[in-house]
């Protein structure tokens, strides 16, 4: 050491200490900023915000769980449909989302349009749609513009027209 005898430098005057103070300040500020900007549950299960899983799970549904729910009130219709050609269908395939109706049956009265747009979604003759998979018609010439439900009961498609396939 090349210090002059009898004159000891105060430790707080040393260059290393001053650099250290700056370093500690930087680290502390970094720690605080990080603490504030990274969400609490980040990294809980992986490199993402763990709380988000619960947010997705608790999102509202629109479609009811299935036909068994519908059958609690509309047993006749569900049973009729179950015995006919449309037995594979979920009620909501045609009737649309019904969970609001299930929760408050008197408040929401859903309507279903029994027209060629609805039925034609499956039964319209179209390139790509094989007749082996589904019975198709040329909707224009088949109904002449009338709604399908005039002749067909969607729950039992051939019941109204004598029970037999044309």
């Amino acid at each position: 050491m090349e210090e002059e005898p009898g004159q000891k430098t105060r430790w707080s005057q040393k260059a290393g200490f001053r650099v250290g103070v700056v370093l500690v300040c930087v680290l502390v500020i970094f720690g605080i900023v990080r603490q504030m900007s990274v969400p609490k549950s980040f990294g809980q299960y992986g490199y993402y915000r763990g709380d988000n899983v619960e947010e997705w799970v608790s999102m509202d549904q629109t479609f009811a769980p299935g036909n068994q729910v519908c059958a609690q009130c509309h047993a006749q219709e569900v049973q009729a449909a179950a015995q006919a050609e449309h037995n594979q269908l979920d009620c909501q395939s045609c009737h649309g989302p019904m969970l609001a109706h299930v929760k408050q049956p008197n408040q929401t009265h859903p309507k279903v349009a029994g027209n060629v747009d609805l039925c034609g979604a499956c039964h319209r003759e179209m390139v790509g749609r094989s007749k082996d998979n589904i019975r198709t018609v040329q909707v224009g010439s088949h109904s002449g513009g009338l709604d399908c439900v005039r002749c067909h009961d969607p729950h039992q498609p051939y019941a109204k027209i004598g029970g037999g396939r044309q």
Binding site: L27, Y45, F63, S93, P97, C122, G128, R129
Partner: protein, 264 residues
């Protein structure tokens, strides 16, 4: 005041001490702060989520032989997940494939999916081969979209569904670019990345995804791949299945029955 001169050894020693103190002190402080902020509730929620995931690996089977292209799935998906009906964005969509073979042996493939399959038109053509292919997120084992997200806003859950954290997503669209299946889009209203979640809010409560629920021909099957009795596990074992773009190495979890080789 006399000029101080440090030897190299002294400088290095004191610098080392300072650095050590600088690292240990804030780290200790951080740990203490985290202990204070953490509450008991998060641990119970953690176990609930882990219990929900235990023994589950969701899987999806699409039967291309059965699909009739009615696009009930497309409409139901939009209604269930509140994706605007009048926008050209889809969490699931249906493609029509028409294959023509001419006399010279050349093959022409025409594909369309107008409005996600909701507006297929009758065409004046007679293809040699015709079929529909429903598409949706493959919930890959090895998802490129998760890898590229710069903010950790998208992830794969313990039961095998890739989700987007809407609060964290900054809408940079990297994930949309990286998906080899085009399954992602920017939500027109929320302005964050959106994609099929296999209706995570339904399947977590024992319901089927909306598209599976409404499919009139049973072309879509959903279930737990780890449950040997589930329809998906049985079909995966017995049916002739293929995944989309296996060469991408993404390991998709949507399995297609009798998928034609022209489908990409």
């Amino acid at each position: 005041m006399t000029k101080e001169r440090l030897s190299r050894r002294d400088f290095l020693m004191s610098a080392a001490k300072v650095v050590a103190a600088g690292v240990v002190a804030p780290a200790g402080g951080l740990a203490a702060a985290q202990a204070v902020f953490a509450d008991g509730q998060s641990t119970s929620q953690e176990t609930a989520v882990q219990q929900m995931w235990a023994g589950k690996e969701w899987g999806f089977v699409v039967d291309t032989q059965k699909c009739i292209g009615c696009a009930r799935c497309v409409k139901a998906c939009k209604l269930e997940n509140k994706v605007p009906l009048d926008e050209e964005v889809f969490r699931t969509w249906v493609e029509r494939y028409l294959v023509f073979n001419d006399d010279s042996g050349d093959e022409e493939v025409r594909t369309d999916s107008p409005n996600g399959g909701l507006d297929f038109k009758q065409l004046d053509v007679a293809p040699d081969k015709q079929f529909f292919v429903p598409k949706l997120c493959n919930q890959c084992h090895n998802p490129p979209c998760v890898q590229v997200c710069p903010v950790g806003a998208t992830y794969r859950t313990g039961d095998g569904v890739v989700l987007v954290d809407r609060k964290r997503c900054i809408g940079c669209r990297y994930c949309i670019q990286s998906c080899p299946y085009g399954a992602r889009f920017l939500h027109p209203v929320l302005k964050v990345a959106d994609k099929c979640t296999w209706c995570y809010h339904r399947i977590s409560h024992g319901m089927q995804p909306a598209c599976v629920e409404v499919c009139p021909v049973g072309a879509r099957k959903f279930g737990n791949q780890l449950d040997p009795n589930s329809q998906v596990a049985v079909l995966k074992k017995k049916a002739r299945i293929r995944v989309l773009k296996p060469d991408m190495g993404t390991k998709p979890n949507v399995y297609y029955i009798d998928l034609d080789e022209v489908v990409e």
